[in-house]
Amino acid sequence: MSVPAAAAAGAMLPVAARTRRRVSFRAVFGLSVLIFMGGAAVFAPQLAPWDPGKQMLLKRLRPPAWQERGLREHPLGTDHLGRDILSRILHGGRISLGVGLTAVTLSALIGVTLGLVAGFFGGRADAFIMRIVDVFLAIPYILLAMGVVFALGPSLLNVILVMGATRWVQFARIVRADVLSLREREFVAGARARGNRSLRLLLRHVLPNALTPIIVVATLELAFMIIYESALSFLGLGVQPPTPTWGWMLADGRNYLATAWWLATFPGLAIMLTVLAVNLLGDWLRDTLDPRLKV
């Protein structure tokens, strides 16, 4: 009986229609851009029309296809060495996204572990870890990256290490805060009374309930890592040529901004779109999963 009656009641009040949940624009946009970017990155070798390193000096500095001197086979134009911009963006995306994801994973592993230990055990472990966090927060990360790269030499691996090793503090702080409140919750005391010892308590009861902020921070950190990598590459500290990265492309294009704007603009747009998508997705995740964190 209830369904027709409730439906009839619902139909009578126009308010009912307005409060129906709509699918979030942010989620749809963010997710589709990321899937698109991710797909492009994974299938770059198949999708890219040209070898990104192939220099075709006779076709250098050609504008995008829809412009006057543009060529159809180079939709986004060519750079100062005649390399196809589109192919370089596709391959560059592999680096940017790949490095970003790996670095986020690394920093999450370090940060979450330290945050759990600091928050759960408190006392001296907490004080010690928090002092380290303070130190890391005080040092500008670019400076830190420069130091490490000069010491160890620039390479893909070192870039990931540097990024992971400097950004873990974001995870540590937020996990620690969550754990501090979680460990006072009654279900933790109950679990302890029923035989859980500390390690099991941490992994089985505390950590799963701290996942929400971790996921949210991870998406936001991914956005940051992409920019971080681009900045490092721009400064010459990141992945070395001939591997194309969006940061390198920006650096190269810097000198041609007035004459060949497409060298820097398209990689810049790629960075912007990706970061925007990740941020929007992160915002949506935050709002859906944990209204407490709403800023």
Binding site: E186, F187, A189, G190, A193, R194, G195, R200, H205, P208
Partner: protein, 324 residues
């Protein structure tokens, strides 16, 4: 087994509250201050008091979920405070706890069945099939359909969640259960169901309860003996009927007269207490209740009264009952 089932002597818990080097003096909260009592096997001891009296802390101290600052706890003949961590871990099987807040006392990320089965797995009581069987049995014992094992806590009502908490506490077949405000967050009709369940389980499994609540009528209903706490101390302890009909300590009298009764015929002589419940940070000298006591005299401000016998098995900590 030698000695009483549970015996607590001189139990203390002090919390340091900051402000030490800024103010020049360390501030200490004596949440539990020299508390002693004993519980016989199969008995229900009620622990009642208002906020800040230390009853919840006492409950957790007994299970060593919090470490005492001083005192002794003997349970089934063992000195609980002298147990090594592995022995303590083993001892936990015999003593369990049920909490107040059904929303907060179950892990929101675990299915109900896993919550109940977990202690069985940790203590290696049964294999996977055996655990499933016991979970189903326990659910039935607390009056729930075994199909509930697949649900998550947020899908259940407050009363159902509380029953799950009880089932989880029963999983290891303990002999002692500390019930910390088990019905305070429930509607009156659900409260009655859960109280009935607790009474029936006690009968069926020979359980012993420490029943903690701020609700005086609920405590009186459930308990064989009742202890009244105020600001970290036990001020009166005795058999339920004696304490209810002839409360000796002024605070107990105030408490009994303050509780609203849903029966206009049963109105007590109203003693409206003065002042606020004192803060545990600024505990009055002498008898802690003296600023609010209608019968206060000089000695009360200076000397802290000890528990004195005032009737059969009935003690009160009040200078009024000192013959001197």
């Amino acid at each position: 087994m030698t000695g009483p089932f549970l015996e607590v002597r001189g139990l203390e818990k002090r919390f340091d509250v900051g402000g030490a080097w800024l103010r020049g003096r360390r501030r200490v909260i004596r949440a539990v201050d020299d508390v002693s009592f004993a519980i016989e096997r199969g008995e229900v001891l009620g622990l009642v008091g208002e906020s800040g009296c230390g009853k919840t802390t006492t409950g957790r101290l007994i299970l060593r979920l919090i470490e005492p600052s001083a005192g002794s706890i003997r349970f089934e003949g063992h000195d609980l405070l002298a147990l090594s961590p592995p022995r303590l871990w083993a001892a936990r099987q015999r003593m369990q706890i049920v909490f107040q807040d059904p929303f907060a006392s179950l892990n929101p990320r675990m299915r109900v069945g896993s919550i109940i089965a977990e202690p069985l797995a940790i203590y290696d009581r049964a294999d996977a099939a055996g655990r499933r069987r016991q979970v189903a049995e326990l659910l039935e014992v607390v009056g729930l359909d075994p199909a509930f094992a697949e649900r998550y806590p947020h899908e259940l009502s407050g009363g159902q969640r509380q029953r799950i908490g009880i089932a989880a506490a029963l999983a290891l077949r303990p002999s002692l259960i500390v019930a910390d405000e088990p019905v305070s967050a429930l509607d009156v009709s659900v409260q009655a169901q859960v109280l009935n369940l607790l009474m029936e389980l006690r009968r069926r499994f020979g359980l012993t309860y420490l029943f903690i609540s701020h609700d005086l009528h609920v405590v009186l209903h459930m308990s064989d003996r009742v202890a009244v706490m105020y600001l970290g101390e036990i001020v009166e302890i005795g058999p339920r009927d004696a304490l209810h009909r002839e409360p000796r300590h002024p605070y107990t009298q105030v408490l009994l007269s303050a509780v609203p009764v849903a029966d206009p015929r049963l109105r007590r002589e109203r003693i409206v207490p003065k002042g606020e419940v004192a803060s545990p940070l600024a505990v009055p000298s002498g008898c802690r209740f003296h600023p609010r006591c209608p019968f206060v005299f000089d000695r009360c401000r200076v000397e802290r009264p000890a528990l004195r016998r005032v009737g059969a098995g009935h003690d009160a900590a009040c200078h009024l009952y000192d013959e001197r």
